[in-house]
Symmetry: C2
Subunit: 97 residues, 2 copies
């Protein structure tokens, strides 16, 4: 048998689980937006990736992260991680089957 | 000069920016929790990683993602991405300098 967890740890894990649930629901909403963007871009013949927009997003998120006490390097890695998934979706929408 | 963006795209990008700001603030809060977890684990001599807890988190988040219309595979990748950063932080806390 393992030792029981410290109550403070159990409490922190509950908060982490609540935050994760909120983030997952926000990401679901975000992909709904980017799927609309993907369809719009495909319909207008616009390229899936937009380096200028991505640069503006990175700059803004790094600033927001810094103000919120989150490592800006992590915020940038996070955005790149999400954008990579979005571009993958956009390519799937725009490519002929 | 480039063509002006379709108004629908501008609007969607504003929603994406709002969602990203919300996620960044939630992640800032999440890392505050995991830093407390890291200090607690270091103080009690507990290992930084906890495979059983991580497995439960993955299962739960995949279910939440599925219900929210988010690709469960992406939700799992996202959690692994965040956990990798957390374990990196915990190692920094527990390692002697």
């Amino acid at each position: 048998m393992t030792d029981p967890l410290p109550p403070e740890l159990v409490d922190l894990r509950r908060s982490i689980d609540n935050i994760d649930a909120a983030v997952v629901h926000l990401l679901a909403e975000r992909f709904k937006c980017t799927q609309q963007v993907g369809r719009l871009k495909a319909a207008q013949g616009m390229p899936p990736a937009d380096p200028e927009r991505e640069e503006a997003q990175v700059t803004r998120l790094r600033e927001l992260a810094d103000a919120a006490g989150l490592d800006p390097v992590f915020a940038e890695k996070f955005l790149n991680f999400v954008i990579a998934e979005v571009i993958h979706h956009h390519r799937q929408i725009s490519e002929p089957r």
